[in-house]
């Protein structure tokens, strides 16, 4: 075992160790359980940084360790059946390791203050450890089997953490909803894995891709290959909250805010994007087209919804969905590195945005608590405003994050978003799907608008309640430090020294698209040609994107800061549109009316079937049995007993007759003897 492999395994299992320790002994040292978890994650982060730097310096090669878990030999049909599991660390993995460990560590740190007085403090940290373990597992595994296992584990830990305050019905419902909606996507993922298994009898990425590369295609049909790709993508649709399964993510905001930052902004929801990136080599052009359109539709729908929301976390949730749509779209159009890079940059600034909102909510809670106000919603941006003076650090860091997500130059978000947009332009150049770049730029503008709307309403302007305003304070240091670190990470310098193009940075150099293995006819555009076109379109993309972002920001300031346009009047004038967006395109209602109602309907029918038909059959069988036993009982008591009794009666009857003979008087017997003697004498003579 090489030292690097040991380190990689240590990175994977340290959070699990944290989970095990905290779940069993957390209650015993309740006060320090947070520090224990944070320390473990700190070590984890250092180790993953080591791996990353070693990988980036090429001092260690990419490695892929496989060992056989179960070997069925040739039990079925003489085909060797073997389940291999293993871990693989390439540059993409190394980057993801650092993203997961870093965000997890900072969220652990932030939670020390945020969750301080929570009822289930140690359980919270235990679940964070479990989640981090599962997420790292997704990242380091080299096969679909383990990936699916860890995939379900992150689903489970997400469920546990969303439902952390399960006394609240809305939180418990949200946890269930997240779990069930994810299950829909996972079903597709599982079927996709099964198709792959049917054909290749292996689930390791390398095994599958080399088999496809050598012309071995599921059921000898390119359509099946496309289907397998799209089905595996279904898993990503669920986990990454893509249309039409995006409905769970906004509800998941019922969980503690640091959890939203870790799971529902930076890492777990990005797992879907990571899955697409891993599956990338076997995706056909048709599958990629489906993926690109799914991403585009998701990005657009959620961006429009985010405009009208008032809950600070809901806005961030919809912006997360929108940005995930962006990443998926980026991968779908073939801009592999750009999509993955957006995942990384987004992880930093979106986790920062959530932690910042957590800081605001924390301050609001304290002020409201102080004033004994239990009616005002601590998360509603309409009740905030003017917090810049009270919470300067939170404001400035939030401003940096907002600039980054809006794609303003000098930020990390600008770099990755630009590359995706250039990718969409190149894609439309090759395939003629011009709707994709149009949606991309539209969403960029919308993002800038709604993010600045949130920022302005929260931090600028005046606070409408002076009393409350006086009680607001900046959050404690342990919450602010993670914000500052995320803010620093949101600058361009960490990804590329050229502030206007990521193409020359280390990320593009190290995280290169994998070799596509699908057959000639169904493959997407050649990577080299595509990258040339991207370079070609880059300046165009940059100008348009800066233009629309600037327009969005300007519009936000005009409307919400200078109040030249009345948002209320506009909302009233466009009442149907506003309501439509506010009700989130009626997706929840639609699903309630169709799938939920259908499920309940089927359940009712099943219950009726159960109560009437099944129970009827059972009761009928019981009735028949009862009748049978009555008949057999009667047979027994009349016929069988009759024979027995008759025999007894017969014997008794003769006994009664013969008993007369047995008088007990000796003289009678003598008479009989004499008679007998006489008869004998007569007979003899």
């Amino acid at each position: 075992m090489t030292p690097e492999l040991t380190i990689a395994l240590a990175i994977l299992f340290i959070p699990l160790l944290s989970f095990v320790i905290l779940i069993f002994f957390g209650k015993r040292f309740l006060n320090v359980s947070g520090h224990v978890g944070t320390t473990f994650l700190g070590i984890d982060l250092l180790l993953s940084l080591y791996i990353l730097f070693a990988k980036l310096n090429d001092s260690i090669p990419a490695w892929d360790v496989t060992f056989t878990w179960i070997d069925f030999h040739t039990v079925v049909n003489n085909v060797p059946l073997r389940l291999d599991i293993g871990i693989m660390v390439d540059n993409l993995t190394a980057v993801m390791l650092v993203v997961v460990a870093a965000v997890s560590f900072l969220v652990h740190l932030f939670s020390l203050a945020y969750m301080k007085d929570d009822v289930r403090y140690s359980l919270y940290y235990a679940n964070l450890g479990l989640f981090t373990f599962s997420m790292l597992g997704i990242v380091v595994t080299n096969n679909y089997l383990l990936m699916y296992v860890f995939w379900e584990l992150v689903g489970l830990s997400s469920y546990l953490l969303i439902g952390h305050w399960y006394e609240k019905k809305s939180a418990a419902d949200a946890a269930k909803k997240a779990f069930i909606v994810n299950r829909v996507g996972d079903l597709g993922f599982f079927i996709g894995i099964m198709i792959v298994w049917m054909q290749f009898s292996t689930l390791t990425f390398n095994g599958i891709f080399s088999a496809i590369g050598s012309g071995n295609i599921p059921f000898d049909s390119n359509n099946w290959l496309t289907a397998a790709g799209i089905l595996i993508f279904c898993g990503a649709v669920g986990k990454s909250a893509q249309f039409p399964l995006h409905v769970w993510l906004p509800d998941a905001m019922e969980g503690p805010t640091p959890v939203s930052a870790l799971i529902h902004a930076a890492t777990m929801v990005a797992a879907g994007v990571y899955l697409v990136a891993r599956t990338f080599p076997m995706l056909t052009a048709d599958a990629l087209l489906v993926i690109a359109y799914t991403g585009a539709v998701t990005a657009f729908i959620s961006a429009t919804i985010a405009i009208v929301q008032n809950d600070i976390k809901k806005i961030l949730a919809y912006s997360t969905i929108s940005q995930l749509g962006y990443m998926v779209m980026g991968l779908g159009v073939g801009a592999y590195t750009a999509g993955v890079m957006h995942l990384v940059t987004h992880a930093a600034f979106k986790a920062g945005l959530f932690l910042g909102s957590g800081s605001v909510i924390y301050a609001m809670h304290h002020a409201l608590h102080h004033l004994n106000d239990h009616h005002t919603d601590a998360q509603d941006i309409r009740f905030m405003g003017g917090l810049k003076k009270k919470m300067p650090v939170t404001f400035w860091t939030m401003l940096i994050f907002t600039l980054a997500i809006s794609g303003v130059p000098l930020t990390s978000g600008f770099l990755s978003k630009d590359e995706i947009l250039a990718g969409t332009l190149a894609f439309s150049h090759f395939t003629g799907h011009s709707i994709i770049p149009i949606v991309g730029f539209l969403v960029a503008g919308l993002t800038a608008f709604y993010m600045f709307r949130m920022l302005i309403l929260t931090f600028l302007g005046d606070h409408q309640n002076n009393h409350r305003y006086e009680h607001m304070h900046e959050s404690p240091k342990v919450m602010i430090v993670p914000l500052m670190i995320f803010a620093a990470l949101s600058f361009f310098a960490f990804f590329s020294f050229n502030p206007v193009s990521a193409g020359s940075g280390w990320f593009f150099e190290k995280v290169t698209p994998p070799t596509v293995v699908v057959p000639e006819g169904v493959a997407s555009t050649d990577v080299k040609e595509f990258m040339e076109e991207v370079h070609h379109q880059h300046s165009t993309a940059m100008m348009i994107s800066v233009g629309v972002s600037g327009l969005g920001i300007l519009l936000a300031f005009v409307t919400y800061y200078w109040k030249k346009i009345s948002a209320d009047a506009l909302g009233k004038a466009l009442k149907p549109v506003h309501t439509f967006l506010y009700r989130k395109w009626y997706f929840d209602e639609l699903y309630d009316a169709t799938f939920v109602a259908a499920t309940i309907g089927i359940a009712r029918i099943s219950a009726w079937f159960d109560a009437k038909i099944i129970d009827g059959i059972v009761n009928g069988a019981a009735y028949v049995t009862r009748i049978g036993s009555v008949v057999s009982g009667n047979f027994d008591s009349y016929v069988v007993d009759g024979i027995v009794n008759f025999t007894a009666y017969f014997a008794g009857f003769f006994g009664l007759l013969l008993r007369k003979v047995q008088t007990g008087r000796v003289q009678t017997y003598i008479i009989f003897a004499l008679i007998g003697l006489m008869v004998l004498l007569v007979l003899h003579s």
Binding site: R659, Q662, T663, G664, R665, V666, Q667, I670, I671, L674
Partner: protein, 102 residues
């Protein structure tokens, strides 16, 4: 009138019948025993008659003496039984002693 074997056998048969009749009809156990004596004696008469008129000679008389001895022994045992019956049932009336049928 010449007395022949037939006369003896006739007497003996009458005596036997009387004995049997006594055994069957008497209710008193003592009377039954006396009937048995009559039967035994009718047998003795036969033995003696055959000793005189038949070919039995002295053996007939010997058998008769045996019978007398046996009858004496029998009477002793039977009277002892009757005595015990009386002790047990307080009666020697054999009509009333029918517990055998129960």
């Amino acid at each position: 009138m010449n007395i022949t074997l037939t006369h003896f056998l006739l007497i003996s048969a009458i005596l036997f019948s009387l004995g049997v009749y006594a055994v069957i009809t008497r209710r008193n156990a003592i009377m039954v025993l006396m009937g048995i004596e009559l039967i035994l004696n009718s047998a003795n008469i036969n033995f003696l008659a055959f000793s005189r008129y038949g070919g039995l000679n002295i053996e007939g008389q010997m058998a008769a003496i045996f019978v007398i001895i046996l009858a004496a022994a029998e009477a002793a045992v039977a009277l002892a039984i009757v005595l015990n019956i009386y002790k047990r049932f307080n009666t020697v009336n054999i009509d009333e002693i029918s517990i055998l049928k129960d």
